[in-house]
């Protein structure tokens, strides 16, 4: 063993969580090291080539608003972008982009390498060094000790990774990587419990062997939108995706080979995600569905590899080829890499604090897929928060905690820490109670100030944001103050706009609230409108049109905060509280919620339990007062 270096923050893993963690901490001025098992696998996208979508796109915008890298990196390497859900309301508009996978990796690697305060190293970490419950560093398989004040574990699917493909099974990480075989033991020894999860990916096929004429083209948006509030607007060249369907022949092939599926032979022990089922799982669980849709997605400009979205599988290679060839357009298909399942250890996230620091070891943080989530975006979001908080920890500052009413990131972390998860956790808009407030369009307005306050958001970003915020406020005030009456002139303008006439006075804001009136329509028909950037107009329009609903949610947040602010003493002995259900007692003891609001969100803790807690705490308070 030799001491190879000394850092404020050491990040284990350079996937989407690790990269954000390392960049955040380095940008906040902490001396940071990022260790990866393979330098060529930085920011690897081992599954689909896409970033974003409903709720995930929200996360990416939030990462950006706080000063993270994922959004900028995606915009810079984009091969297609689509805004989904445009007809379903502003809160659920969802941006999704396809990225050139290799370009994504290369750019991120370059950003890491050129980041001040950040060292990048290839090594396999075997051990986390802990003394008296405080983290001291990490030890590599080569016997190198990196001393550290904080360590962020962002090991993705590498902990005891095991690849399963038909009857073939071997130890390894995704895409032919090594697995981290010893780190799990080190975590266990430090009192951190692990759980085994599973996920999977479909085959990659050669585009030269695909007959696209039998598929439906899925082009990107005419006017692609960026994830980052900083990326320059404008069109970039795009590649289309393609839509095709499975059929009864496909299902017949799968059914007749189920006995060879590791899912059913018992080879796979880990719990897989419900939202990302393998094709064999779909066929078995929904036998009445005669066809499932597939998207064939390009993996980059410089490769013929294509991703078969909807076909995740761990059936043997020959079966994969057989069922793919039953599909329209894939009759002659050639597989370049087969699909596979991967099992891995992850940390049971209820052992963490909201800062993502473990309760068991001071200074040890965990983030990303290693915390039981799935998805690049969920990983990056946690990495960012873990990196920020690791850096704040070294400076002796309070952690950055986002609440459920601040951000999807807050929902994500709160869910993980308070409720835990029994499958790889995916972010969904339906998990966010206050989503009319947590829109992807206003992520900067919600979070950039916070990112600036912790020292992560750059001056440049902050100034741009502050200007935008001011323009929105000014225009809103102007529209609300500007009154018009039913004069001849005004009525002419209204009829010109094709909207109903006015009977009495109204503000321009009230006019804008109408279904058939848009900001640009007002702008064309009324004088003295300022020329405002697109994102400012968007905010003004949403703010006015959805004012009633936004207010309603703001009131809900206020009520939510009341219970959230009722603090529970950390030393509370739940076993001594009579009347709590056994389940509640166990879970509360384990999770130790900081507030009644958190306690109420723990599954198995009923409102009756909360009332008891409330009465008990009140009682304890009174008793103390009377002594």
């Amino acid at each position: 063993m030799y001491i190879r270096g000394s850092y404020d923050v050491v990040v284990i893993g350079a996937g989407h969580a690790g990269c954000e963690a390392a960049l955040a901490s380095a940008r906040m001025g902490s001396r940071t090291l990022i260790i990866t098992i393979n330098l060529d696998s930085i920011a690897l996208m081992p599954c689909n080539p896409a970033v974003g979508g409903p709720a995930k796109g929200h996360l990416v915008r939030e990462i950006d608003a706080l000063g993270g890298e994922m959004a900028i990196n995606t915009d810079a390497t984009r091969i297609q972008a689509r805004m989904l859900n445009t007809g379903k309301g502003p809160a659920v508009h969802a941006l999704r982009a396809q990225s050139d996978k290799k370009a994504y990796q290369n750019r991120m690697k370059k950003i890491l390498e050129n980041q001040e305060n950040l060292d990048v190293v290839q090594a396999v970490v075997d051990k986390i060094v802990v003394e008296n419950g405080v983290v001291h560093g990490v030890l590599t398989e080569m016997g190198a000790l990196f001393e550290a004040t904080t360590v962020v574990v962002a090991t993705g699917t590498y902990l005891q990774g095991r690849i399963i493909l038909g009857d073939l099974a071997y130890t390894g990480g995704p895409n032919g990587q090594r697995a981290a075989t010893k780190l799990s033991d080190s975590l266990l020894k430090n009192g951190i419990e692990l759980v085994r999860f599973k996920t999977g990916t479909p085959a990659r096929i050669d585009s030269k062997s695909v007959d696209f004429s039998k598929m439906l083209i899925q082009p990107g948006d005419e006017e692609p939108v960026n994830f980052s509030f900083l990326s320059p607007e404008g069109k970039t060249p795009q590649l289309p995706c393609w839509l095709t369907y499975t059929n009864e022949n496909t299902h017949a092939v799968i059914r007749s080979n189920l006995h060879r599926s590791p899912l059913y032979t018992g080879q796979i022990q880990g719990t897989g995600p419900r939202y990302c089922p393998s094709i064999e799982d779909k066929v078995v669980r929904f036998p009445d569905k005669l066809s499932h849709q597939l998207f064939i997605e390009p993996e980059g400009w410089d490769t013929t590899e294509m991703y078969v979205q909807g076909m995740s599988t761990s059936l043997p290679e020959d079966v994969q080829l057989a069922f793919l060839r039953t599909i329209a357009g894939l009759e002659q298909v050639k597989i370049m890499r087969p699909g596979y399942a991967i099992e891995y250890d992850c940390v049971i996230p209820t052992q963490l604090k909201l800062s993502l620091e473990t309760k068991a070891v001071r200074g040890l943080f965990t983030a990303g897929q290693a915390n039981g989530t799935s998805g690049y975006e969920e990983a990056a979001a946690q990495g960012l928060i873990a990196g920020i908080n690791a850096s704040l920890y070294t400076k002796g500052k309070n952690p950055l905690i986002l609440s459920r009413s601040d951000a999807y990131i807050g929902v994500l972390i709160d869910d993980l820490i308070i409720k835990g998860t029994n499958e790889p956790y995916r972010m969904m808009t339906s998990r966010a109670e206050y989503r009319l407030l947590l829109r992807q369009d206003n992520a900067d307005l919600r979070l950039t100030q916070k990112g600036y306050d912790v020292g992560l958001v750059s001056r440049e970003r902050y100034e741009k944001f502050a200007l935008k915020r001011e323009m929105i406020e000014q225009e809103l005030t102007r529209l609300k103050d500007l009154m018009i009456g039913p004069s001849k002139d005004i009525l002419d303008r209204l009829s010109n706009m094709g909207t109903a006439e006015l009977r009495s006075g109204a503000s321009l804001a009230e006019l804008l609230r109408r279904n058939d009136v848009t900001y640009s329509l007002l702008q064309r028909n009324f004088p003295d409108f300022p020329e405002l950037p697109r994102d400012v107009v968007e905010q003004v329009e949403i703010d006015v049109k959805y004012e009633g609903y936004i207010k309603k949610q703001a009131q809900q947040v206020e009520r939510f905060n009341k219970l959230e602010q009722k603090m529970i003493p950390l030393a509370l002995d739940y076993a001594a509280i009579k009347g709590l259900s056994r389940e509640a007692q166990q879970k509360l003891t384990k999770i130790k919620p900081a507030s009644l609001g958190q306690a109420a969100r723990i599954s198995g803790v009923s409102p009756a339990d909360i009332s008891i807690l409330m009465i008990y705490i009140e009682q304890a308070r009174r008793q103390e007062g009377s002594i």
Binding site: K88, G89, R285, T429, R431, Q553, K578
Partner: protein
């Protein structure tokens, strides 16, 4: 502090029953009781076996005065209602012995229980969950058979099951909408606004019914505050007697209130009518002449129901007209008595004054129309619905409030749909409604929606 002390209370409604029960709960329950009760067969009360009935006497010992014969039951912790040591002293139902024994328990060191405190302790000690606790409180307060039935139904989860079915339907709609939002590229059939509106309306009907029964829940607990007014000799006392003849009546001297006010509880088909009159009214009758229109107005201002009696054999007086106008916005039934005599009263004139009020021809002396009157009263309480054993009646203010919130949110959802707002706004209202109802069933929120989505749709990349 408050968990360890011993509390006592009168557990039976004053004056209503043949026996009265004083309940003592807490560590010193037996000690308190031993200051009052003597049992011949036992040297000390501390020798009593748990859950066994003993016969004895209650004494005011300093005076060496026997107050009443009593039965006493000791229920040792935790096998009691509160899970604490509990002693029940059963005495005769008269107000005087009950109150004296109760006062003696306080003198012996017990603290008067706060309203609902027994249940609160039962709740704190883990004997009952929240939904039950509230129903138990209502059970204690229920003054009539129908009230008890409603409270019992709530205990058995009848209300819960109705609420659950509405919630289930809301959840399904939410899951459809959420699945379409979270998985826009999957082949999920989208619900149209028209379909959502239709289902929202159907659920509103169910909730409205529950809200309607809620107002009757209060009546079941507290009695229907009823005032009978009319001229001398119109037949008020005969009506009262007719109602009394058929129904159990309890006359209670409520301590602490004006001495000459008498509350009469008449149990009409399970609905307690609390008939409030000045003491003399039954004999001297003429409330209008005696106390004037002003006073009469004051009297019926607080009433839930006014029974206005008119004599069909006489013409309408100016006082009658004044009173009728006063009653315009009051729930009331106009009783046209003496329908068996030659008619001088102009019924049309009354209908002109109060077109929306119910007019009933009755003859108290011939016992005609009394049944009809009773039916109308029950009908007004349940707003046309007949109470049955199966009915879910909301007897609890908190539940009533939650149902109202849920209803209002559905109303909002309809408005949102009408305003052509997008799906995510509609979902906000649906979720608000679903969550309001969740407060009653006591479900934790969380994964329900997501579970529903994955159970219903085949989703995934």
């Amino acid at each position: 502090m408050f968990i360890n002390d011993t509390i006592a209370a009168i557990s039976t409604p004053l004056g209503e029953g043949g026996i009265g029960i004083i309940r003592i709960s807490g560590k010193d329950a037996l000690g308190v009781a031993s200051e009052i009760v003597r049992i011949k067969s036992l040297k000390s009360l501390c020798d009593t076996r748990s859950h066994t009935v003993y016969y004895g006497g209650a004494y005011d010992l300093p005076l060496d005065e026997k107050i009443d014969e009593v039965l006493i039951i000791f229920m040792q912790s935790p096998r009691s209602y509160t899970a604490e040591d509990v002693v029940e002293i059963h005495c005769h139902g008269g107000i005087i012995p009950i109150r004296r024994i109760y006062e003696l328990t306080i003198r012996a060191g017990a603290r008067p229980a706060e309203p609902g405190e027994f249940t609160k302790r039962a709740f704190l000690n883990g004997r009952i969950d929240l939904a039950q606790a509230e129903a138990v409180i209502d059970l204690i307060r229920a003054k009539t058979d129908a009230g008890s039935r409603a409270a019992l139904n709530q205990l058995e989860g009848k209300l819960s099951s109705q609420i659950k079915s509405v919630r289930g339907d809301l959840l399904e709609m939410i899951a459809f909408a959420e699945a379409a939002i979270d998985f826009p590229e999957e082949e999920i059939e989208e619900m149209t606004a028209v379909q959502i509106a239709k289902r929202v309306k159907a659920n509103m009907v169910v909730l409205k019914d529950l809200i309607n029964t809620a107002s009757s829940g209060k009546v079941l607990r507290e009695g229907l505050h009823t005032v009978i007014i009319g001229k001398p000799n119109v037949g008020k006392s005969s009506l009262l007697n007719a109602l009394l003849r058929e129904n159990r009546a309890i006359v209670t001297d409520i301590p602490g209130t004006t001495r000459d006010i008498i509350e009469e509880y008449i149990n009409v088909r399970g609905i307690p009518l609390k008939i409030v009159d000045t003491a003399g009214v039954r004999e001297t009758e003429d409330i209008i002449e005696k106390i004037g229109v002003e006073k009469a107005r004051e009297l019926f201002k607080k009433a839930d129901l006014v029974l206005m009696m008119l004599d069909m054999s006489r013409t309408l007086s100016s006082d009658d007209r004044k009173l009728l106008k006063e009653l315009a916005d009051k729930p009331c039934i106009i009783l046209l008595n003496k329908a068996d005599l030659p008619v001088l009263l102009d019924e049309q004139e009354i209908r002109d004054i109060m077109p929306e009020k119910l007019l009933l021809r009755i003859s108290v002396t011939k016992n005609e129309g009394i049944n009809l009157l009773e039916e109308q009263i029950v009908g007004m309480v349940f707003q046309g619905e007949v109470i049955s054993n199966e009915g879910a009646i909301v007897t609890n203010v908190r539940h009533q409030h939650a149902i109202q919130l849920a209803y209002d949110s559905l109303q909002d959802a309809l408005q949102t749909i009408e305003a052509v707002m997008p799906l995510d706004c509609i979902v906000v209202d649906l979720r608000a409604s679903w969550e309001a109802l969740g407060q009653i069933a006591g479900d934790t929120l969380g994964e329900d929606i997501i579970d529903q989505i994955f159970a219903t749709f085949c989703i995934g990349k």
